[in-house]
Symmetry: C2
Subunit: 407 residues, 2 copies
Amino acid sequence: MHKEDDDPDNTMRILIATDVHLGYADKDPIRGDDSLTTFEEILQIAKKNNVDFILNGGDLFHDNKPSRRILHGCMTLLRKYCFGDKPCPIEYLSDQAVDFGHTSFPQVNYEDPNLNVAIPFFSVHGNHDDPAGAGNLCTLDLLSSAGLVNFFGRYLSLEKIEVKPVLLKKGTTQLALYGLGSIRDERLHRMFVHNNIQFVRPKEDTGDWFNLFVIHQNRSKHGATNYIPEQFLANFLDLVFWGHEHECLIDPVWNSLQEFFVTQPGSPIATSLSKGETAPKHVGILKIRGKEMKIEKIPLETVRQFYFEELVLQDTSLSPDDPKCEDKVEKYCEEKVEEMLYQSGMERSGNRRQPKEPLIRLRVDYTGGFSTANPIKFGQKFIGRLANPRDILLFTHKPIRSIKDCE
Amino acid sequence: MHKEDDDPDNTMRILIATDVHLGYADKDPIRGDDSLTTFEEILQIAKKNNVDFILNGGDLFHDNKPSRRILHGCMTLLRKYCFGDKPCPIEYLSDQAVDFGHTSFPQVNYEDPNLNVAIPFFSVHGNHDDPAGAGNLCTLDLLSSAGLVNFFGRYLSLEKIEVKPVLLKKGTTQLALYGLGSIRDERLHRMFVHNNIQFVRPKEDTGDWFNLFVIHQNRSKHGATNYIPEQFLANFLDLVFWGHEHECLIDPVWNSLQEFFVTQPGSPIATSLSKGETAPKHVGILKIRGKEMKIEKIPLETVRQFYFEELVLQDTSLSPDDPKCEDKVEKYCEEKVEEMLYQSGMERSGNRRQPKEPLIRLRVDYTGGFSTANPIKFGQKFIGRLANPRDILLFTHKPIRSIKDCE
Ligand SMILES: [Mn+2]
Ligand SMILES: [Mn+2]
Ligand SMILES: [Mn+2]
Ligand SMILES: [Mn+2]
């Protein structure tokens, strides 16, 4: 797709983001605000890039029942950035009473005459913020009842689902937006196998719609049936927006078998100190014109830096027989951490809202008779300089088995 | 005050309600929706009576952390009834950045260009829904962040408070609306005694304002210092709106010492099965013109009926020495309950949303050697016919002391 900027009246501009996990580490005195900070950055990016709407792929909240502080922060940000005078140029063509029939105001928020919505926020629910408890409600229902979001892709049947698209139009571009909130992988897998997931296509101009599907499931295989293979998805789709997977793989990948692209924006917050979380975090501006699309990657500048290294003591000059081995291991680790801290200082984004203290994880393989250090005591030397002094070091050991056993 | 209806342009019309306790008996399968039902009725009354705004005296919520179902229900009702096209005819004269400086949008909701507010909802917080936890927020902060309420009367100092009025004007009528959210009675008592509660009066036209004060504290004396005597309150006030006390005493009572009226609207929901809760529940339409006011009582029709009787076995023809006494006591109680059920059937409001099953409490004084019945077993006969089968009967006993000891 070329020159989309030459044809703005016919080009939809959609901010895509997912797995914001608002409230992750809510009670951590250092990291407690990280998720709200980056959510604000995302909303600012949406505004600055003049998008037509925001599309979120689930897990907006980390906890099923987020704290009042987090809910308040989220509502405040949505009202601040999504309400305003800019008219939304998107025509809504499908039946709102159907698309939002599960909510208390079955209407898209930007057509509510009582609300002045500048940037509509559309979201499906994830597994972290799925409906539960009395009334079978989720936090998106609260936001929806206040008119702050458009909660779609919620289906009540656990047997058979007809996924009906939200139909949107801007100029000559027509978007069929399919959404499916998180369902237990095994169950959804089975439903696909039994042909109980049907995608309903628009009757008119069937071939002219750009078909986008938002899904929040395991994409990578964890066992035979607790993921959703891409080949399960309808091949009339043009783009699959994959939520739930946290690694940022936002550049569209062509599935030549299914003949659709897949984009996986990933989570903007490190919810674990694993290597996958070190990939730079992005959101995207998805531009759709006719049947063509393009995703502009926008790096997030307020994400707390995270550095991860692995150290195999056997591969160093250290010896477990050295009487001063323990001290030397500790010293060695200290130097590594200092190097990572130095690197983090060099690689700051420049955004004043990026938190100062990085996350540092040093994974130490002590196989070969080395002794371990006390991670908590070790971390005390770094208090104030990094965000996770209590768990910088993680000691691991190779399995005490022969290679044959392993195979 | 006469003929207020002849001068609508200069008459403020305010719906006054308090202690709605949304979420009371939230998990009770029979009574769980009572509070939402009556809240909806109150909002309907506000709309039908074309009030300029709603004024709530605290304890809008029963629990400090209401369930998602209740919060969702409340937000849905506020958006449904308080948003709309009717313009609010009230001029806002005081500094909104001060009056709402503690909120995330320091602005009255009906002047927010992004919200179409028909009936502004003003509230102070009560002791049930007071600020607590991370961020020191309360549920009204959530509603406020969504633009659904105007949360006022929140002061952060626990040492000295200058109570500043919200200044409102309609035609020639000027209202100085003072509010003070719930504070621990002993503390507020002490602050008054030490002259640390100051009411700030408008500089201009000081004598011309109608001065209304909303307070949420103990009014009746529970020990020397854990209530607020009316004589503590500034005597320039014209009307005190007393929240927290649940009995409906909404007709204004003249305090001749202080020269102000006091109205106590009371709670629309029976949160205990005590005699005080049998008084009919009302909200009021407070009409203010110049320095005159009048309160029109509106009976609530959806409140679950509640009947309370006391029975002293010693005063009946029953004898504890009768070998069939236990059966006869039970029979006697059954007949009483049947009478009350009959009465409840005769006295229904006619509103189709009034719950069918009444609350029934029979307090049985068994002094004199009578044995008690098992209340749970007793109630099983009435399942489906009343709302509280498990605790219809409450057995009491006179203190086993001489009258002298009692004095
Ligand atoms: Mn997630
Ligand atoms: Mn997920
Ligand atoms: Mn109360
Ligand atoms: Mn109270």
